[in-house]
Amino acid sequence: MNEVDAIGLLTQKATDLGQAEVARRLGYSKATVSLVINDKYNGNLNSVLSKVKEVFGGLKVNCPVLGEINLAECAENKRQPFSASNPLRVRLFKACKSCKEAK
């Protein structure tokens, strides 16, 4: 999915769900969503768009530990800090480091 597609996806979702709901799901402000849709955003567009792909892209990735999961879940997992008290997180921590899906 390229940038234009991602903006298109965001616009579509904003029409379907409303900008407020889209903003809530993305974790960005309503203003940011509005600015991106109207092509007036001055901040880091790429980080907003990669979040759009994560949340609305519906893309699946193959996780070596968990099998087929959503991109959003993959992104959430790789952001988690190391935790020795959860063996699943230990395995994920090691796998994410060398995983091309979790770049």
């Binding site: 996780c63 099998g67 959860n86």
Partner: protein
């Protein structure tokens, strides 16, 4: 971000995985007037923790594995770390916060290596969490854990089901071979010998399968059975006898 991908094999659907899932599901689906704690216990190497990881992922459970050095507070802090809540304040406050989070989220809690908690007599703290949330809790420990828990009658009485692991059988060995021996085909007679040598332990089967694959690759075989394996030793987990030179 391509969509074409080969199927990744992660956790083999062994019998013990199914048993663990069933125990947790029973706790999750139990009606209000029944207790919602379940225990899953069995000897080391049976795949309890792998099964728990799988269940934790499937049901988005909070999952902690206890360590031998843990105090009550360490247990509470570890659970809170999994919840993403900063742990600050006295123990009773932490217990309350955990109960609140469990009750709010409705996500189950899995406590692995529960033996450490039992040995430290910190069992009552798990009961506090349970009573405070009435949330499904899966306790995992080694085979003597149910007996050890008898010391705490009030705790013991709140367990809905005592599930036990089953020794790995031929079907499990076949599944494991399809997961971990992908470069060579292991014939049934050798798999049967492996199952017998492993004495029910999934871990030992895995060690054997890895050795078999290595040997087969080394000798250039694509298929290996008892005949090709010959009189090589299988890994039984026995420590070697003392050798005097």
């Amino acid at each position: 971000m391509t969509q074409e991908m080969s199927q990744v094999k992660t956790t083999a659907p062994l019998r013990n995985v199914a048993l663990c899932m069933k125990a947790l599901e029973r706790a999750m689906n139990s009606p209000d007037h029944l207790p919602r704690m379940v225990s899953f216990s069995g000897p080391s190497g049976m795949g309890k923790s792998m099964a728990a990881s799988y269940a934790a992922n499937k049901y988005r459970a909070y999952y902690v594995e206890c360590k031998s050095s843990w105090t009550k507070r360490a247990l509470l802090e570890a659970i809170m770390l999994q919840m993403g809540i900063p742990a600050a304040g006295p123990i009773y406050k932490l217990t309350e916060q955990i109960s609140e989070q469990l009750a709010l989220s409705g996500r189950p809690l899995i406590i692995d290596e529960m033996d450490h908690i039992v040995n430290r007599s910190a069992v009552e703290i798990v009961r506090d969490i349970y009573e405070g949330s009435k949330d499904p809790i899966l306790l995992i420990g080694e085979e003597m854990m149910p007996q050890k828990l008898k010391k705490w009658e009030r705790f013991h009485g709140r367990i809905l089901e005592w599930a036990y692991t089953q020794p790995a059988d031929m079907q499990d060995a076949k599944l494991l071979a399809s997961f971990y021996c992908r470069k060579v085909k292991v014939k049934d007679d050798l798999l049967e010998a492996v199952t017998k040598a492993a004495k029910g332990s999934v871990r030992r089967i895995c060690v054997n399968l890895s050795r078999i694959e290595e040997e087969a690759m080394g000798t250039g075989l694509s298929e290996i059975g008892l005949k090709e394996w010959g009189d090589r030793q299988l890994y039984t987990g026995e420590a070697p006898a003392r050798r005097i030179i």
